[in-house]
């Protein structure tokens, strides 16, 4: 890789102390994201993928290694990285509109501008008509759409997504994947998307990074060569099936190993 990476994770390690023992959650994780690339990070539960994302967001300190954003090391959280959580993190006391505006406060925008930008981003996720609704009035999928609008609104350099559709039902999840993909195809941004859903990883990303069992590092990198724009018809193509199979096989051998079945035949 000669071109400069947007994000570079070098030799990342994270240890936790648990009952007097040191548990290695991550060790030697190397990740590179090019500008405007959509990369998914996939692995079995407990492999450290969310920890890696959390460190990238600056919410946890790494034990070893470094993270570079545009060649500069990052320290702590910052507005250059936006995070979409798996849990619903809209503030219940604010309307959808006010939730998006909340994130814009630190941008030094005048109030009027904030309102317009928030409105435009709700439109982007198809929720303009719900601008004045409170989170209790929104379905799970709608809440995550507002959360995406909120994360995009303040223009972070990198969007970090931690299983954002993990709590949604299968049908809603598909709709959300299509929505996210079409937004990304129109308004490119560098994305690191954590998931444990193989189909999701293949559908949304340019590249899938499969993680090992803990201590987690990148086991395999699979280029998702499906053309864009993507649509759900592609799910039934042989190309999709082939990529799906490769990612699945890579994870499967890890989960078999962690379940004590060995690496498989």
């Amino acid at each position: 890789m000669s071109q400069a990476r947007k994000v570079e994770v070098r030799g990342l390690g994270k240890d936790f102390a648990s009952r007097g023992k040191v548990v290695r959650a991550l060790d030697g994780a190397e990740v590179g994201l090019s500008e405007n690339e959509f990369v998914s990070l996939i692995g079995t539960s407990g492999c450290g993928k969310s920890t890696l994302l959390s460190i990238l967001a600056g919410l946890q300190e790494p034990s070893r290694g470094a993270i570079l954003l545009d060649g500069r090391p990052i320290e702590g959280p910052g507005r250059d990285r936006g995070l979409v959580f798996q849990s619903y993190t809209l503030f219940p006391w604010l309307t959808a509109q006010a939730n998006v505006e909340f994130a814009l406060r630190g941008n030094g925008m005048p109030k009027r501008k904030r309102r317009d930008v928030a409105r435009a981003h709700l439109r982007l996720v198809g929720l303009e008509s719900f601008a004045d609704s409170y989170p209790t009035e929104l379905s799970g999928g709608m809440k995550q759409r507002v959360a995406i609008a909120r994360a995009l609104a303040y223009r972070p350099e990198v969007l970090l997504m931690d299983e954002p559709f993990g709590a949604l039902d299968a049908l809603t999840r598909q709709v959300m994947q299509e929505l996210l993909t079409s937004i990304w195809e129109q308004h490119k941004i560098t994305v690191l998307f954590v998931t444990h859903d193989v189909e999701e990883a293949v559908y949304v990303s340019d590249r899938a990074l499969v993680m090992t069992n803990p201590p987690g590092r990148i086991k395999e990198e699979i280029e998702i060569t499906l053309p864009r724009p993507r649509s759900h018809d592609m799910l039934s193509t042989p190309e999709f099936a082939e990529l799906y199979g490769r990612v699945l096989e890579s994870i499967r051998s890890e989960s078999l190993e962690s379940a004590g079945f060995g690496a498989g035949p």
Binding site: A57, G58, R79, L83, F91, T136
Partner: protein, 260 residues
């Protein structure tokens, strides 16, 4: 109607609740009119009602209620004004929790009743002593309840604030506090109920005015009807304040019920 998770209409709910009150009132009426219980121990409902009416006519009832409500308000507001910031602080920072929570927990288990003689020694038998007893009885409980309300703020809310580059103080004021506010309001509502108990206790032991004071003097003159009337009045006042707090809470935190 009698099925786990079954629902009933508001009309039925009120009817059932009303019937229970009516049945008890009827029992009370029967027990006294049949001469089964002596009036000295349990006067008839009409006697109790009449004594309250007399008390209202000669103005004593309003004077007693006013004094007691004033004491409750001052004691409760001072306790709340102190407990909210301290509770939020110890629910947010482990340092402050370590410094304050064990101490508060320790004091909380000291019976409020045992402080009555001490507070009289410190501040006599005037209003200050009533404020003190109410404060001791509510403040320490409130602090712990509010700490719990604050701890229940999802950590992801705080983390989200961090990713926006917010400073701790802004996270506290604009994320943690608003998020915990409905729970804090509810804790205050519950502790207001206890404040009534501590007020009456203080007034029973040493006072020259107030609802509790009137109950002790009534006892000296065997005015059982007045005692029971005032006990019922205290119940009604407590219920009124509780419902008012509930109503205000629903107005302040309308968003909570928006989807329901």
């Amino acid at each position: 109607m009698l099925r786990i998770g079954g629902s009933i209409s508001t009309g039925w709910f009120l009817a059932i609740a009303g019937m229970v009150f009516a049945a008890l009132l009827g029992l009370w009426f029967l027990a006294t009119s049949s001469g089964w219980v002596q009036p000295l121990f349990l006067p008839s409902p009409s006697n109790v009602f009449n004594s309250l009416v007399d008390q209202a006519r000669n103005g004593e009832l309003w004077g007693d209620a006013k004094v007691s409500i004033y004491r409750i308000m001052v004691g409760f507001l001072v306790a709340s004004a102190m407990a909210v910031p301290i509770g939020v602080l110890i629910g947010t920072y482990r340092f402050w929790e370590a410094a304050i929570e064990p101490l508060v927990d320790f004091i909380r288990y000291m019976p409020v009743v045992a402080f009555v003689p001490l507070t009289i020694l410190w501040s006599g038998t005037g209003n200050m002593q009533k404020f003190l007893i109410i404060w001791i009885g509510t403040f320490f409980q409130q602090v712990l309840l509010i700490m719990d309300n604050t701890k229940r703020v999802p950590l992801d809310f705080v983390d989200f604030g961090r990713t926006l580059g917010m400073k701790d103080r802004a996270i506290l004021a604009r994320i943690i506090f608003p998020s915990a506010a409905p729970g804090i309001w509810d804790s205050m509502r519950i502790s207001l109920g206890w404040a009534w108990t501590w007020l009456v206790l203080a007034e029973l032991v040493a006072a020259t005015s107030g609802l509790g004071y009137r109950i002790t003097t009534a006892q000296r003159f065997f005015e059982t009807d007045l005692i029971i009337g005032y006990i019922l009045l205290l119940g009604a006042l407590g219920l009124f304040f509780d419902q008012t707090m509930k109503f205000l809470g629903r107005r302040f935190f309308r968003y909570e019920a928006a989807g329901r």
